[in-house]
Symmetry: C2
Subunit: 385 residues, 2 copies
């Protein structure tokens, strides 16, 4: 199995992007990645596109349209889907294509255009990722509802508080405010967060991530090729991918995502590292409780101590494991298919030392944790300088 | 790059399956594949699911639901999308996962449930695979319309006749009638086909493939593992994947699919064979004209001679390149995500010599050709006994 590295990164501005269609967002990120790698489309052998949702733009082949628009015809391409982890699935598929020797260079683009429909329609559409037979049709439950159940269970079992949830939002907005590509670039206070309107108890508006348009791109190459292309290749040294039940009622435990625990075990083992070795992480904070569960599921802290971890600022820069110092899904934004690729872009920038005021000093090993829905899939990638 | 072989196959009955939901169809095919390989889910390391369309069943994570229902949690899984070629994309992704050494065994399941909505809604939904900006929204064009353009261009340039188109339907129904898993198991005559009602000139009802429910599954293993599991591994010796413009107006030629020509070149080169070596083929006859174009694009006959190829029965058993002797999309059916995997199942059965009355005697090398929409993607796989 040969090694695979990231040699180019690109990122559109996340936000409400009325100025750009889905294909134009993809192009923004791809153009930047090609420039970053000092490559042209002629140097790329294939593409994998991550797009999660066909309802948001009423089209079933966004991947084909992106491949066409970015000038990659007639080269190989397909799309990966794993709900909010679709971008990480694309990286995984591209990684195996290179590791197998089928290709030397593959471009991955994750993209989603979420603001063409109303907010209430977005919430409904995102609910379609649940189990239609047992949950979203009979009960009408959508994502805030499932994560509210996780939060209630965590508060009940471990004494996690609403204030600890709010502190996740405060941290992520603090860093998002200094990330030029973030959607909502403003700081918030604990008081703002705690008094924001209730969405699904105990989750308030500021506990929820954003509905954003955006795209991110990475160029992967075999280690051999990477050395020729760049002085700062970032190796994808560990891959983990695991799944869990579609229906919440089949879960034994609502305070942890089993898929995240399993995926991280795979990734740590493959990379030969342990949680203590992670210098910087991007985790899937679709809701604030999700970040607290991620600290625990990834082994950054003991089970049940996630609330303390944020309270002690262990996930801030200067803490034990700086997490979501790009703003996370909460402040940077969460354009579904783009999110996993955006995490890879951020970790690459961190390991290259290019993050300016939000740089984690001396970061050498990074981790991304990208979750589909309520943990139906989780993909964990480990990166090394 | 290590070799990858098929060690197990399974196939649901295709048809209007009011008796089975999407997850139940998937289970039918997976159960059969596990039994065929004499394996249990414990022997499988990961799954890749091919599902094309989220609108047909109003759910965006069918892949997660299938993975759950077939008992493959918490192992790795994701879904591939490339419209009607989604199943072949799943095989490609699984192939690279094994060839890379990441996994030794991967289960691929392609599935689609198309009959939960009305036929007119299916046609509308399938149109969402076109270019929304330039074609399906402004003009309302859907699949029969695009293939009607191909047919008109082919008739104009090469003198292909409506009768030659009808002969493709006659052949495919002849073989579909003796395929136990086929949707429409009855023979049709040239006269039936020619007098069936017009859909989009020159394509009549009998020139169009079916709207079907169904699933198919294959178990892939490294060659080394495959030899331990079965006496009849079928090697996937060549892979090709290519793309083309989303908008028809960007095409230089409407008598050929550039993606099919490019994908077949890649696959022939990788497998070290030429069109003359192919003993049996499954091609994407979503419309009869598509099969005639496939003969030419794959090099089974000269460009423009596809009409003669069917007239001379060169694609019948006993002819030069027996094609779609399982009934094809036309008679066996076309449950989008299942189709590419169904082709792999059929070719495996042919190369194992298990096809009974529709067996191509002594078949050693087979080919599948799976097209997305009007050629936005084409995946060609070459199989060896």
């Amino acid at each position: 199995m040969r090694g695979v590295s990231i040699v180019g990164i690109g990122h559109s501005k996340f936000g409400r992007r009325d100025d750009a269609s889905l294909r134009e967002l993809a192009f923004e990120s791809v153009k930047e990645a090609l420039e970053d790698a000092e490559m042209s489309t002629h140097d790329i052998e294939a593409t994998v596109i991550g797009v999660a949702n066909q309802f948001l733009t009423n089209q079933t082949q966004s991947g084909a349209i992106v491949t066409d628009y970015i000038g990659m015809n007639t080269k190989p391409s397909f799309t990966t889907v794993a709900a909010c982890a679709s971008g990480s699935a694309a990286i995984r598929a591209a990684w195996t294509a290179i590791a197998s020797g089928l290709h030397d260079t593959v471009l991955v683009c994750g993209v989603e255009k979420m603001t063409e429909v109303s907010t209430s329609r977005v919430v409904e559409i995102l609910g379609f990722a649940g189990d239609p037979k047992w949950e979203f049709r009979p009960t009408g439950i959508t994502n805030p509802g499932t994560y509210a159940m996780f939060a209630c269970a965590h508060m009940h079992k471990y004494g996690t508080t609403e204030k600890q949830l709010a502190l996740v939002a405060v941290k992520n907005h603090k860093y998002g405010a200094i990330n030029p590509v973030a959607h909502l670039r403003r700081e918030v206070t604990v008081e703002d967060a705690l008094k924001s309107r209730m969405i699904a108890y105990p989750l308030k508006l500021y506990d929820c991530s954003l509905i954003s348009d955006g795209a991110a791109a990475v160029i992967l190459a075999s280690d051999e090729k990477a050395k020729k292309v760049t002085d700062t290749p970032i190796s994808i040294a560990g891959l983990g991918c695991a799944t869990d039940t579609a229906a919440m009622h089949d879960r034994a435990d609502l305070t942890s995502l089993r898929s995240a625990v399993e995926a991280s075990k795979q990734a740590y083992k493959m990379a030969g590292v342990s949680p203590e070795d992670i210098d910087v992480a991007c985790v899937h904070d679709c809701f604030t409780i999700a970040e607290i569960m991620a600290y625990e599921d990834l082994g950054f802290c003991e089970k049940g101590k996630g609330g303390n971890f944020i309270e002690e600022e262990q996930s801030h820069i200067g803490g034990k494991t700086p997490t979501n110092v790009d703003g996370g899904l909460k402040s940077k934004g969460h354009p579904l298919g783009a999110t996993g690729v955006s995490m890879a872009v951020e970790i690459t920038k961190q390991l290259r030392g290019e993050c300016g005021p939000r740089q984690v000093p001396g970061a050498e090993i990074g981790l991304s944790h990208n979750v589909a829905m309520h943990g139906t899939h989780c993909m964990v990638h480990i990166y090394r300088r």
